[in-house]
């Protein structure tokens, strides 16, 4: 299939609807409508935030992200200084310009310096009614899990106190089922790219992902099911591409992935917090573990961010994914001043090399579309990978 050719057998109407959600966010009509009807919306800053707790309280959780493309960040820089990552500055600039005024609450965490300072300044300069910051341990030990469970309990209690009403176990269980269903469907979407000639691209997948944390899961799951059906009925196939995995900092601009795919690559897997690490593992309901503990364990033990220790847990899961999806090479895109990922790069590159997976390291700014020099470097990398396959 040639890029850009849309026929009745290749068009994906459900994807178009999801794209429309992304085009408008955060100034989206469906969010305005929700507010008009008395609904509440919370923004969360990091994938360690237990969304189910917010959802079970009858509040729509949406992910706080920055501009959809690279842009001047004068206001963001004025507040967070030039050496905060451009993701934090981009998010804050949107906030300070009123684009997130619809939020009823902001939930942050001690995940990384960029996000914790974004939360600090948000709390100081914005008038969002509810704030909560979670202490997120950096280890996976039993003690760390117990501490995070305690932290999630406190978050729930704080939210209940603010709402003036409790969050029932039944509500929580419904939310867990809903979010687990979403995770299952997203896994299904990702698995489509295991084959030699996938019907869906990495850019399209990121577009789906972006919509997944910007709209009610109830609707999203329904639309994603429709999309999966449309894909199965379509005659789409992306053959003869260099299979690439993208790892590193937060990434929401699908044009970056598209730029890789326009020069001969196909992004078949990722390790992004806006990708695999978002839907990663399900909440495991074993009938013994208290519900909220099962939630907290899922979030702390999920496919890890570079902030976690030991890093081998992240490296091993990247390597396993790279093998599972038969990638030819890995592109590591690190936003400047995204220190956790910058620190991991030497060791990760070494581990991937030992597995026969070359790595291209790109320093980028949040929102980049991957044009210019980045495109040239990607092209050269893909040519090298292509030559290795011959």
């Amino acid at each position: 299939m040639r890029e850009g050719t849309q026929t009745s057998k290749t068009r994906l109407p459900a994807l178009e609807r999801l794209r429309e959600i992304n085009r408008a966010f955060p100034d989206a009509e469906q969010l305005r409508e929700l507010k008009r009807s008395g609904g509440r919306i919370f923004g969360w800053l990091c994938t360690y935030t237990p969304e189910e707790v917010i959802h079970a309280a009858g509040i729509l959780p949406v992910r706080i992200v920055g501009y959809p493309q690279e842009t001047d960040l004068d206001d963001g820089t004025a507040y967070l200084y030039v050496n905060s990552c451009s993701f934090s500055r981009s998010c804050f600039q949107l906030a300070i310009r009123g684009q997130y005024d619809f939020l009823d609450g902001v939930v942050g965490g001690s995940t990384c310096d960029g996000v914790r300072r974004l939360f600090d300044l948000w709390r100081h300069y914005m008038d969002t009614p509810f704030y909560h910051v979670l202490n997120i341990p950096r280890k996976y030990t039993e003690k760390a899990h117990r501490l995070y469970y305690d932290e999630v309990l406190k978050f729930k209690a704080h939210l209940e106190d603010w709402l003036g009403q409790g969050i029932s176990d039944d509500s929580l269980l419904d939310s867990v089922h809903l979010y687990n269903e979403s995770r299952r469907l997203l896994r299904e979407l990702y698995d489509l790219r295991r084959v030699d000639a996938p019907a869906v691209t990495g850019a399209e997948t990121l577009e789906v992902m972006n919509a997944s944390f910007r709209m009610p899961k109830e609707t999203f799951n329904q639309w994603l099911q429709e999309l999966l059906s449309e894909i199965k009925l379509s005659v789409r196939a992306h053959a003869n591409r260099v299979r690439v995995m993208v790892v590193g900092s937060v990434l929401t601009n699908a044009d970056f992935i598209r730029s890789i795919e326009e020069v001969g690559g196909l992004v078949v897997a990722d390790e992004l917090c806006t990708g695999t690490r978002y839907w990663g593992d399900p909440v495991v309901l074993d009938g013994k573990t208290p519900l909220l503990e099962a939630i907290s364990r899922r979030y702390l033990g999920n496919f890890p961010c570079a902030r976690m220790y030991p890093s081998d847990e992240r490296f091993n899961r990247i390597i396993q994914t790279a093998h599972d999806f038969r990638v030819d090479g890995v592109i590591s895109q690190n936003i400047r001043y995204c220190v956790p990922y910058c620190h991991d790069l030497p060791l990760l590159t070494q581990r991937l090399k030992a597995e026969g997976k070359p790595t291209l390291a790109l320093d980028v700014e949040y929102g980049t579309a991957g044009s210019g020099q980045i495109r040239t470097r990607v092209q050269a990398f893909l040519e090298m990978l292509e030559a290795r396959k011959r």
Binding site: L80, N83, R117, R123, R138, K139, L347
Partner: protein, 426 residues
């Protein structure tokens, strides 16, 4: 992953350079009547610390490398030789004027230029074999992502095991207990690898002295409130070093008691650290190490003296209890001045700077905006806005704490001159 420069770089050259510099300064100081006893003690302490590190291998000692804001009390209690990693990069810059070879070696490992220079430099130092190879690497997430992420690469470079202390973000009883558990686990780790047992009685003694050390630092801070202030800007690093390198050590007590007495005498005589005190300054974060001498000259020339550093020398409230040594070591980390920057940045941090501004009668504040320090620089506007509420102007100086290539002395001097003019006009 190892460096390739070991053959041309003596294993311990940076540490040896620091020792040589300290000894040289001590010898020169003997010829200067204006040098105080506390200053001489300080350089002797530095010399002793790094000499012990240099000799550790020959003496069969166990070297425990650790990052900043780390509870080195536990290492002293087990008679292990501590190696404060960032201080080694700092001191290299301070005493040799630069550390470009270490930074280049760090970059050669694949560490991006955005990684702060003390951490990039220390990875480079291990890569070059420019510091002794540690037997263990110990680190924590106090106080930023750089400290949290620096340990594993060093373990790889130094071929040694390591232990990471996961420091909780907030200070609930559960989080404090979690930290105690982390310390317990680290003691077990150290006992296993060093073959030495924790001496709990010795730890209690160290905790008792650390409590005294904190009290003495607070008393020194009280004396710095005097007009004129008796403690020179360039000596700020001495106070910081006391905790970084010598927590609960007898030498630290001797230094602080001596310093306190000297400052008391100066206050009684109405003497200040600068000949004519005109501007009382608050220092926000760390001045560039390589500019210590230059900044001292400017300070003397303009009668400007740093009288308080809320995030480096201004301890939080609390006492340490020798009867509960491990809990006290954990408690100390919550009292650290830097802790105000680690947890949620709430009224505690903001109140600290406004109350310091009032109590120390501050004319202006200088924010040393270290380009590699993201979590501090992100507070510049917030702190400026907060200090403007108490009518204290803030000068932001872009710099790097150890890399002299980022800003020139001329540029910094010009900015300082203009700032002092502004203060004068007020």
């Amino acid at each position: 992953m190892t460096g390739h420069a070991e053959a041309r770089t003596p294993e311990t050259n940076k540490v040896r350079a620091i020792v040589r510099a300290c000894r040289l300064i001590s010898r020169m100081n003997r010829l200067r009547p204006d040098v105080t006893r506390s200053e001489n003690l300080y350089y002797q302490m530095l010399s002793d610390y790094f000499t012990r590190l240099l000799d550790a291998r020959n003496n069969g000692d166990f070297i425990a490398a650790h990052t900043v804001f780390f509870p080195a009390e536990l290492l002293y209690a087990m008679d292990l030789v501590p190696m404060h990693t960032e201080t080694t990069t700092w001191m290299t810059s301070l005493f040799t004027g630069e550390c470009s070879d270490l930074l280049e070696a760090g970059s050669a490992l694949g560490l991006a230029s955005e990684i702060c220079t003390p951490h990039r430099g220390l990875a480079g130092a291990f890569s070059l074999g420019a510091v002794p190879r540690p037997d263990v690497m110990l680190w924590s997430n106090m106080v930023c992502d750089n400290t949290a992420k620096s340990g594993e690469l060093i373990m790889e470079l130094a071929h040694c095991p390591g232990f990471f202390i996961d420091h909780p973000f907030k200070d609930s009883p559960e989080e404090k207990q979690y930290l105690v558990g982390e310390l317990e686990d680290m003691v077990v780790f150290l006992e296993e690898h060093s073959g030495r047992k924790m001496n709990w009685d010795r730890l209690s003694e160290i905790v008792a002295r650390m409590d005294r050390q904190v009290q003495l630092t607070r008393e020194v801070n009280e004396l710095r409130k005097s007009v004129p202030s008796p403690f020179g800007s360039r000596r700020f690093l001495e106070l910081v070093t006391m905790d970084y390198l010598f927590p609960g050590q007898p030498a630290a007590i001797e230094y602080l008691e001596t310093l306190k007495q000297e400052l008391s005498d100066m206050v009684a005589q109405g003497k200040g650290a600068v000949a004519r005190e005109r501007f009382r300054l608050m220092s926000l974060f760390i001045p560039p190490m390589y500019l210590t001498g230059f900044l001292e000259k400017v300070s003397q020339e303009f009668g400007a003296v740093s009288v308080v550093e809320p995030f480096f020398t201004f301890w939080g409230e609390g006492r340490l209890d020798p009867a509960h040594p491990l809990e006290s070591v954990a408690q100390k980390s919550y009292m650290l001045p830097e802790m105000r920057m680690y947890g949620p940045l709430d009224d505690r941090a903001l109140d600290a700077i406004t109350s310091c501004a009032r109590e120390y009668r501050i004319d202006g504040a200088i924010y040393y905006a270290d380009v590699g320090c993201r979590h501090t620089c992100a507070t510049i506007k917030l702190f400026k806005d907060t200090l403007s509420e108490v009518d204290v102007p803030v000068l932001t100086l872009d710099c790097d704490v150890v890399d002299p290539t980022l800003t020139s002395q001329d540029e910094i001097r010009e900015k300082l001159e203009r700032f002092f003019e502004l203060l004068e006009d007020r």
